[in-house]
Amino acid sequence: VTRLPIAVTVNGEPCEGDVEPRTLLVQFLREHLGLTGTHVGCVVGECGACSVLVDGALVKSCLMLAVQAHDREVTTIEGLAKDGALHPVQEAFVNAFALQCGFCTPGFVMAAHALLERNPNPTEEEIRHDLSSNLCMCTGYVQIIEAVEQAAGRRRS
């Protein structure tokens, strides 16, 4: 079996690994690096639970091979909090009760973070449009949208 060496910067730290060509980025993150905050809900790019940032762009890590992340910068949910303090988007999700079982949550937080980086003051319609990349079976999305609105408000203030 062929194994390929890769070097990826993950949450600011250089990481190396030997992976099969077919290894998905999400498998590399979870199984090789132990970053289990990135979840697998469908493995076909429909649910968004595995969303991460690759060079700042929102990516479903089940739709990308680990080898494609070679020489690139990946940010996972574990990389958002700084010095033990939750990121404002994370804090907003907590305050707004924007989660129940928590399985989709890392993906939604990453998607919301990516949206606010691009558009710091989105309308509800823009939030709904952007977050339609991710599925949540528990919340009916109401409190998730409130959380993104809260996070945007905090950024403005």
Partner: protein
């Protein structure tokens, strides 16, 4: 106890910080040394005989290398039969005419696409998946039965030959004098209704990790009902020392109660066989085809009604498509006992049921189980009765509602609705949605479309007075207003109502435990007897303990998730049936009350005072001394500086480390476990001679109003507003309850608008992905507006009622009602779900052609 400082507050979530930072801990996150990975070979056929299973010689020799990894073990149907025992028939299979053995995997026949046939374990998941190709199964395909209609035809192939028919169970319940009600009626209103197959599709599929050591078998499993797994492992493997650990669960909704036991057993078999830990993680497609569906239900309904809208009685024939397993035969039938009369004071009802086997996925509980169907029947019939009698649909409902002064109200089948105010729920929802203004706007919009004459009164669009307006525009507005109950708190004896002859009682009432411990440093930890699938049990329980003990929730934490060896659990210890609010809340409250008692006893001794003068402020016990009697009694008695307060930390140190300061005879420690049963479980905990039994113990209720817009060209339905007024009794954390209502409403709406499973006539599932299945995203899901109208329950610990799946029960009916209202210009009747664009378009087309 004094006024609540924490109960009723939107206390900060205890679970959320770990989940937003990726520190939740789910089964797939766990890794054990030398762990192997399992993968399951599943049937590609809906119906086939298994003629033979062959393994390649290398597999048999046990030295197979695949993809650079070793294949460690394989089990085939023959092995499953040899190494395990079939499950005992549970309460939902009690109605079988002949006993049928069901193993964890298929043995001689497959009965649905995706049924497990063989299991491979290898060093990696990828290798295990690759190795599936090395198992050769010879199937002899049989004709598949993909609908109840086909299943009951005389020449239908039999799914279980030993039953002699695909109707695996038939029976009925009847209350009151139904025939007399129909004789007395001014009119009989008839309808055929259908609700389709769907699921709650928890985002985390099934997951099991099993380790077999000489001492015991330990399973980490995302089961909602660990008691099912606990019993299944013992039944199937004959191992008594079983430990079930449930870490964080990525959504349940009922999906993770029943079928998951098969996979627990299969994974355990592999762990026993290899002597190594084995992990099995289901993938999405596996879950869609074999993880369990809610049952497709068809209802032939007759209502006996008076001209003024009074409903005298109902006759319902319920045909349930239960798929290719006998294990949950009657689950969608008996759950209808929970809301058999919905919110109505109707006295006569007969419900006849048939559980029909088909070559489709077995059925499982799912956000309400049969209850959305039962509510759909009532609420569709209320609209239909109004149309046939040319009455207002709201008025017909009001005519039949249980009145506010009738509570506690006993339904004819024995349910006791403790409290409620159904008329006010309707008043509030009509006010909040702006019903009258909407009707005016709707009427104007219809008139505005070149109407030859004004539309009917109130624009209700009754077929008796067909509205001739033909919208040439695109958008048809409609409103639907419905009402329903959310039963909560299990009575395990419920199913005996349909099996009065059964010798084996499946249990009765319910028991649930909780442990609360005040630690040496004054902080508090607790354990619950039930797992959580995201209902914020930690947050809610901490608020209750905080109020009982007099300590802030920040100093309270949950000591780990469910562990059958450590958690105090009863058989109600299930994340199902809306049990938390009744059993866990009662247990936590009881355990905290016992700890409070110990704290006060110890404090009184330490402070040398009477318990009656003590109270607790934020973790400090304070001796309140009556001033007039004696200005400084403590100082006087002690002969030194007054010690009028003692902290929890000081008490903790004494309780665990300083026997000299303990009152004589007092047990050390400050810990208590309490098992709660509903103190008002009687009357009718056990069925009486008329088959009356308390199906559940509390009854939340809600009125829902949906405003929709239907595109007449495409059939697409948009929900413009969705308004709920909900009575969940005393709210412990309103934000948590809001979340439960939002989520269950959104699911019911998505179900009504098109999410669901579709099978081909050959029994092949055509909706294997979430996209094909049609789950609503942020784009389709409406903003949902909630008003709480809590009426405390007189019989529960804090006046609380259930808050979980509730809004999934009336919401399909609300959408159906609103879409029918929108299409009333075409005289369309909505009978069947889902209201996918295709079906709505067809309804509009049929309505138009009927006009010509």
């Amino acid at each position: 106890m004094t006024a609540h400082a924490h109960i009723g507050q939107r206390a900060r979530s205890k679970e959320a910080p770990r989940h937003v930072s990726g520190r939740g801990r789910y089964v797939d996150d766990l890794v054990l040394p030398r762990m192997l990975h399992a993968c399951i070979l599943r049937s590609p056929y809906a119906h086939a005989r298994i003629a033979s299973v062959r393994l390649s010689p290398a597999v048999v020799a046990g030295n197979l290398q695949v993809s650079g990894s070793s294949v460690r073990a394989v089990i085939t149907p023959e092995d499953i039969k040899r190494l395990s025992r079939p499950f005992k028939p549970g309460r939902y299979a009690a109605g079988l005419r002949v006993p049928i053995s069901e193993y964890a995997g298929a043995i001689d026949k497959v009965r649905y696409v995706g049924e497990p046939v063989a299991v491979v374990v290898a060093d990696t998941r990828a290798a295990a998946e690759d190795a599936l190709e090395l198992i050769e199964v010879d199937y002899e395909p049989l004709p598949a039965v993909a609908s109840t209609g086909a299943a009951v035809s005389p020449d239908a192939p039999l799914i279980y030959e030993e039953l002699g028919s695909n109707v695996a169970w038939a029976g009925h319940v009847a209350y009151g004098d139904v025939d007399d009600a129909f004789r007395r009626a001014d009119r009989i209103v008839r309808e055929n209704l259908k609700i389709h197959r769907y699921s709650s599709t928890p985002l985390e599929p099934f997951a099991c990790l099993v380790e077999h050591t000489p001492e015991r078998l330990t399973i980490w499993c995302n089961s909602q009902s660990p008691d099912v797994i606990y019993d299944a492992l013992t039944e199937a493997l004959g191992i008594e020392n079983v430990r079930v650990i449930v870490p964080d669960i990525g959504g349940g909704f009922g999906q993770k109660i029943h079928l998951i036991r098969k996979y627990a057993v299969l994974t355990a078999l592999m762990a026993v066989k290899t002597g190594r830990p084995v992990k099995w993680i289901e993938d999405r497609s596996e879950h869609m085809m074999a993880g369990g569906h809610s049952c497709e239900q068809e209802f032939d309904v007759e209502a006996a009604v008076q001209s003024d809208g009074e409903v005298l009685g109902l006759r319902i024939v319920d045909t349930d498509d239960v798929g290719g397993s006998i294990s949950t035969l009657t689950i969608h039938f008996t759950n209808k006992l929970n809301n058999l009369f919905n919110t109505y004071k109707v006295q006569h009802l007969r419900l006849e049921g048939r559980s029909v086997l088909t070559n489709k996925c077995p059925v499982v509980p799912n956000r309400g189980i049969g209850k959305p169907g039962m509510c759909f029947v009532w609420e569709r019939m209320m609209d239909r009765i109004a149309q046939e009698l040319a009455l207002d649909p709201i008025a017909v409902r009001r005519r039949n509602l249980i009145a506010a002064d009738q509570f506690p109200y006993t339904t004819p089948n024995g349910n006791i609705h403790g409290s409620g105010d159904y008329q006010t729920l309707l008043d509030r929802v009509l006010a909040n949605v702006g019903y009258e203004e909407f009707r005016k706007r709707q009427s104007q919009s219809r008139v505005g479309r070149a109407s030859p004459k004004p539309s009917g009164e109130g624009g209700s669009g009754s077929p008796g007075e067909p509205d001739r307006v033909r919208p040439t525009g695109e958008r048809l507005l409609g409103i639907g207003v419905v009402i329903g109950v959310e039963p909560g708190g299990r009575n395990a004896a419920r199913d005996m109502a349909i099996f009065p002859q059964s010798k084996q009682m499946p249990g009765a009432g319910g028991v649930e435990g909780a442990t609360v411990k005040l630690e040496k440093n004054g902080s508090v930890v607790f354990r619950l007897g039930s797992p959580s699938c995201g209902q914020s049990h930690e947050t809610t329980a901490a608020q209750i303990i905080a109020d009982v003990l007099g300590i802030t929730p920040e100093r309270i934490s949950m000591a780990g998730t469910f562990d059958s060896s450590l958690s105090p659990w009863g058989v109600s210890s299930s994340n199902s049936g809306n049990n938390f609010h009744l059993y866990d809340v009662g247990a936590v409250h009881g355990a905290a009350t016992r700890v409070r008692d110990k704290v006060l006893t110890l404090a009184a001794h330490v402070l040398k005072t009477e318990r009656s003068v003590l109270h607790i402020e934020e973790g400090v016990v304070v001796g309140r001394v009556p001033k007039p009697a004696s200005p400084q009694p403590l100082a006087a008695e002690a002969g030194g500086p007054a010690v009028e307060t003692v902290t929890f930390a000081e008490l903790g140190k004494i309780a665990y480390a300083n026997q000299a300061l303990l009152p004589p005879g007092m047990e050390g420690g400050l810990e208590a476990t309490y098992y709660h049963s509903h103190p008002h479980a009687d009357p009718l905990m056990l069925p009486d001679m008329q088959g009356r039994v308390r199906a559940q113990y509390t009854f939340s209720s809600a009125a829902h109003a949906a405003v929709v817009e239907v595109d007449s060209e495409t059939g697409r339905v948009r929900v413009l507003r969705y308004v709920i007024v909900s009575d969940n009794g005393t709210l412990i954390n309103p934000s948590v309850v809001d979340g439960q209502i939002y989520g269950s409403a959104a699911h019911g709406i998505s179900v009504a608008l098109g999410e669901g499973f579709v099978y081909g006539d050959d029994g092949q599932l055509l909706t294997l992905t979430l996209l094909d299945y049609g789950k609503s995203t942020t784009l389709e899901t409406p903003a949902i507006e909630i008003e709480h109208f809590p009426v405390p329950d007189p019989f529960t610990t804090l006046g609380q009622k259930a808050a979980g799946e509730g809004a999934a029960i009336p919401s399909p009916a609300a959408i159906a009602s609103a879409v029918e209202d929108a299409l009333s210009p075409f005289g369309v009747k909505v009978r069947h779900l889902p209201l996918s664009p295709e079906r709505v378009w067809q309804l509009i087309r049929d309505g138009k052609s009927a006009e010509r």
